[in-house]
Every structure is written in structure tokens, then in C-alpha cells.
């Protein structure tokens, strides 16, 4: 019934993940992360596939998934921009920079560009406060941001 199938490579990875834990339900977040990173979205079909792996209901998977901000029910862009707006970044002028970034991408905060290249999210503290203002794009942290630096970073991403 599941329209979502893990690839062979993913199946191998899942074996490794499951081996870390005495109870398979602990693999919930790792499996959701695996799907999110591969698909840029966690679809209902993927939730079913995960539930089959972990012997729990799809509803339970959804109840966990919806708790965490890094899983998305709508596909996010190729580049996920998390722009920190918490206090250390606020004190260093992040609000104007976030506005600048949204304007440059021609989207509102929270949206994805029509070519599905960028998604821009306001984010709480990302633990790089000594380089504030900062943002995270996919796995990379960028600190000491200025308008010019943001432009350079965004332009460099293919």
C-alpha cells in the first residue's frame, strides 16, 4: 500500500541506523531525517514506509514528525536558508539582513522561490552567536553576515 520505496542504498543505511539502538523506535528521527534530506519533504507515503520499518502506526510517525521543525510537509527548496533572528543576531542587525535576503530572493520569509531553489525561514538560535548575525544554508553555517556577503553567498550557490 505504500507508494514510497526506500532505495537499496537507503536500505543499507537503515540497517546501520537500526543497529545503533536496542529498540527500533529510536530510529524514528534518523529515518525521518533520511527521508527529509533525500526528498526535501516527508510525504504521507514516506510516513507509511517508516511506520512499516519501525512497527508503529503511520499516525504515530506523523505525531512525532509534526513536533520537529526540520521536517516539512511541503517540499522545500534545494537550498534551505535558516536565518537566525534570536537575541545575539538581533543585537547585530539581523532583521534588516533577513529583509534584504527576502527581497533579493523575491519571496516572503517562509516561502520557496518558484524555481524551488531557495526556501527562506526565520530560525531560532543556531548556536553560532559569536559570529552573529548568521544563517545556515543546508549544512553550512555562515557568520558575520553583511548585505554584501549575503549577496555573494547566494550568488555562489548553483
Amino acid at each position: 500500500m505504500s507508494g514510497f520505496v526506500f532505495s537499496e542504498k537507503q536500505e543499507k543505511e537503515i540497517e546501520g541506523i537500526l543497529a545503533k539502538y536496542p529498540f527500533k523506535k529510536s530510529a524514528m528521527l534518523p529515518l525521518l531525517t533520511l527521508v527529509q534530506r533525500a526528498e526535501r519533504v516527508v510525504s504521507p507515503e514516506a510516513m507509511v514506509a517508516i511506520s512499516n520499518k519501525l512497527d508503529c502506526s503511520p499516525a504515530y510517525v506523523q505525531s512525532v514528525m509534526s513536533f520537529y521543525t526540520m521536517y516539512h510537509t511541503e517540499k522545500v527548496g534545494k537550498y534551505m536558508i535558516l536565518f537566525c533572528i534570536n537575541i545575539s543576531c538581533q543585537l547585530n542587525g539581523c532583521d534588516k539582513l533577513l529583509e534584504h535576503t527576502a527581497k533579493k530572493l523575491n519571496i516572503k520569509v517562509g516561502e520557496t522561490t518558484t524555481d524551488e531553489k531557495f526556501t527562506l525561514h526565520r530560525e531560532e538560535c543556531l548556536a553560532d552567536c559569536t559570529r552573529a548575525p548568521m544563517m545556515r544554508i543546508n549544512d553550512t553555517y555562515y557568520g558575520d553576515l553583511t548585505e554584501q556577503r549575503i549577496d555573494q553567498i547566494l550568488d555562489s550557490l548553483g
Partner: protein
């Protein structure tokens, strides 16, 4: 200044086994295995090491609370670093992952634990690769796995990533998350030392706490305890951010004057503005006004001044800042991160947000301040976990010390801007 954790922190390739070992890494293991597990616990107790994640609970005591003769036991390293202003663990994980592994081996040996997890916040995905590589290297060297260095002691360590939830830094929420559930805190007792991960006795320690342990085993408890004050021993990593000339992570001996940390270590206030306020231990700790800058940087002195040393995140705020604006940002954070399980927290954070927002729209009245204090009263100490208290801290302290910033709105003359 004495440097324990940061002594070699910027050394090239310190994250590799080769360089870490050249600097004396993993030498504590042989010393530890020559002693009984309970002797290591006694040593950590005698060192006076306290939890560096925020609560400052004595580490050795925490280890000794594990339910007797119940196995398996687990170690969870809390690497969910999310307290606004805090970024010291990130630097340790990035630059010296082997120090954490060494600390985890010592803790596990002392507590007779065979499985350890490093719970890292989901945004640290890149660091998990570094950590996994370090674990692999430690395996290859025989520092992890079966019968480590012929001691008969076995240990496996695994990384585990969260997925974006501040609350998972709270230890019982972390356990629920690691078990594959929502990161909602548990009712305590039972404490994790009795019923933790998979309902088994569990030690949960912050990254920095565990990283200190190799030094204690190598150099002895007395040497560590000779640093610091009567009750706050050793050194502490401080993440200094905000309006300072040289923001950064620094290691300071506990008991150092705050003035020295802000004006010497961090180079003073940026743009030659004046200090208005500082948050000594992360956004969950009450802010203090500039005239309290002579407080000493240790657990007791900061508590006596009405705040907390917390996670060691020192946020410096200059006099161009409107404290109401900064406070609203923090309330917004707690509102966003409240897991929603306890009503005072779920509703209280939202009400506070709505009230302060109205004040900032010049729609407030003086009575709003009283209402905020009343809401705070109904939030503090009334929930499963301290997230509600954490939201109350900046609100109450901002009213206490910067009431005039609120009142200016009622007169339509707001003070400065962030």
C-alpha cells in the same frame, strides 16, 4: 590564564586522532583503568566539577545517583546546544571531538555503562560527520569496542541527531526524543539516574562537562579544585556575544570579575557605546544592569546578584538598545519552543507575547506591567520543566531593571531601538 579545554583548541587538525594523541590525548584511560570505577567517581566528586549545561549540578554526585545494580545503564551526552547565546559545545565538537569521546569513556567506565549516545541538535548535521569519523578512529585504536585496552571494559558510542526543538535540551525531553517520540519533558521523579533512557539508569551530561573529565583523571582532582572559588571550581567556557569588540568563546577561571571578561577578554563594548545590560548565562537567565558589572563570574556570586551562570552564554547589550524590543524577541522564542504540554507555559508565553507586542504598538497601559508580573507568577515553578521559568526570567528582570523602557511607550517616547 589557565586553559584546560581550549589549551590547543586552534591547533591544526586537533580533530584527528594523530594530533590529539600527540597532545597527550587518551592517556587518561590507562590511569583510569588502573583504578576501580568508584574511585573515578570519587575523584570527579572531589574535583568539584559541576554540570556545564546550565543547572550546575555536581557531576560526580549525579553519577553516584545511578540506581544500584541495575543494568544496562546508558550515557547520553547532551549536545543539543540551543540556549540562545550559547555556542561553546559547537566549538568543542567541531575542533576536539576526541576530547569528548575520551571524557565519555571515563564516565562510562566509572558508571559501568556500555552504550553512550551523543544527542546533537539536528542543525549540527555537519558536526555529526566529524564526530562519527572520530568514533571510527577511536574504534580502530581500540579505545572503543570490546575489552578496551585489555581492561575487560566494553563501550560503544553512537551519534544521534535531533530535528529542531529547543526543548530537547531538557534532559527528560531529550530521552523521549532519543526513544523516537516527541520531545516532551517527563514528570520527575523518577529521575533519569533511576529511570532514564528505555527506563534504565542513565547519566546525562553536557559536552563541556564530559570534556573536563580527562583533565581531572590526568592531573588529579586537587589540581582542578585548586582553580576557581570555594564552591565554583575550575574553568568555564563563556560564549560572549552581542555588543562587544571581540565576540568569541573563551575559557575563564571561575571567580573572574565580570568586568574583566567584558572589558578585557572581549575587548569592551563595540562602537565605544556604553554598557546597558548583560545576560550572564543564556537567554533563560535574568538580565542584569550595567551597574552590576563588578559581580564575580561564578555560580554563587551570580546567583547572589539575582541571576544564573547557566550555560555560560554572556550576552552584552549596549545603551542603544530598547530592552522591550529585546525582551519581546526572547518571549517570542519561548512561545515558539514551548512544547505545549503544560498550560501555564503554552498559554503564558503567548499572553506575554501579545501584551508586549501591544505595548510596542503604543496600545499599552501602565496596568499591563502588573498583568505581566501576574502571568509570570502563574508560570514560574508550575510546569514539568523549566521552559516557563526560562521565559519568566528575562521578562521579570527587564521590568525590574528597565521599567522606564516600558513606561516610555505609555508616554509615546520609546527608548532607542535594537
Amino acid at each position: 590564564m589557565t586553559q584546560i579545554l581550549f589549551k590547543n583548541i586552534d591547533m591544526k587538525d586537533l580533530h584527528t586522532m594523530k594530533v590529539y594523541e600527540e597532545q597527550g590525548g587518551y592517556q587518561s584511560l590507562e590511569k583510569a583503568f588502573a583504578q576501580k570505577p568508584e574511585e573515578i567517581i570519587a575523584m570527579v566528586k572531589a574535583s568539584g566539577l559541576r554540570g556545564r549545561g546550565g543547572a550546575g549540578f555536581p557531576a560526580g554526585l549525579k553519577w553516584s545517583f545511578l540506581a544500584k545494580d541495575v543494568f544496562p545503564r546508558y550515557l547520553c551526552c547532551n549536545a543539543d546546544e540551543s540556549e540562545p547565546g550559547t555556542c561553546k559545545d559547537r566549538e568543542l565538537l567541531l575542533k576536539t571531538p576526541h576530547m569528548l569521546i575520551e571524557g565519555m569513556i571515563l564516565c562510562s567506565y566509572a558508571c559501568q555503562i556500555k552504550t553512550g549516545y551523543i544527542y546533537m541538535r539536528g542543525e549540527f548535521h555537519d558536526l555529526s560527520f566529524i564526530m562519527d569519523k572520530a568514533i571510527e578512529e577511536a574504534h580502530a585504536k581500540g579505545y572503543l569496542g570490546k575489552n578496551i585496552m585489555g581492561s575487560g571494559f566494553d563501550l560503544e558510542i553512537h551519534t544521534h541527531l535531533g530535528a529542531g526543538a529547543y526543548i530537547c535540551g531538557e534532559e527528560s525531553a531529550l530521552l523521549n526524543s532519543l526513544e523516537g517520540g516527541r520531545g516532551e519533558p517527563r514528570m520527575k521523579p523518577p529521575f533519569p539516574a533511576v529511570e532514564g533512557l528505555y527506563a534504565k539508569p542513565t547519566v546525562i551530561n553536557n559536552v563541556e562537562t564530559l570534556c573536563v573529565v580527562p583533565y581531572i583523571v590526568n592531573e588529579g582532582a586537587e589540581k582542578y579544585a585548586s582553580l576557581g572559588t570555594e564552591k565554583s571550581k575550575g574553568t568555564k567556557l563563556v560564549s560572549i556575544s552581542g555588543h562587544v569588540k571581540k565576540p568569541g568563546n573563551y575559557e575563564v577561571v571561575l571567580g573572574t570579575p565580570m568586568r574583566e571578561i567584558i572589558y578585557d577578554v572581549a575587548g569592551g563594548i563595540a562602537n565605544d557605546n556604553k554598557l546597558k545590560a548583560f545576560i550572564p548565562g543564556g537567554s533563560s537567565t535574568p538580565m542584569l544592569p550595567a551597574d552590576m558589572v563588578d559581580v564575580l563570574y561564578d555560580y554563587e556570586s551570580i546567583a547572589a546578584a539575582g541571576s544564573m551562570l547557566g550555560s555560560g552564554a554572556l550576552i552584552v547589550i549596549d545603551d542603544s538598545v530598547n530592552i522591550v524590543e529585546a525582551t519581546l524577541r526572547l518571549i517570542s522564542f519561548y512561545m515558539h519552543e514551548s512544547c505545549g504540554k503544560c498550560t501555564p507555559c503554552r498559554e503564558g508565553t503567548r499572553w506575554l507575547y501579545q501584551i508586549v507586542e501591544r505595548i510596542m504598538q503604543n496600545k499599552g497601559q501602565l496596568e499591563y506591567i502588573e498583568k505581566m508580573e501576574d502571568i509570570c507568577d502563574n508560570m514560574a515553578m508550575k510546569t514539568f520543566c523549566p521552559l516557563a521559568d526560562a521565559c519568566v526570567a528575562p521578562v521579570v528582570s527587564s521590568i525590574k531593571y528597565f521599567r522606564s523602557d516600558y513606561e516610555a511607550y505609555f508616554k509615546n517616547t520609546p527608548v532607542g531601538s535594537v
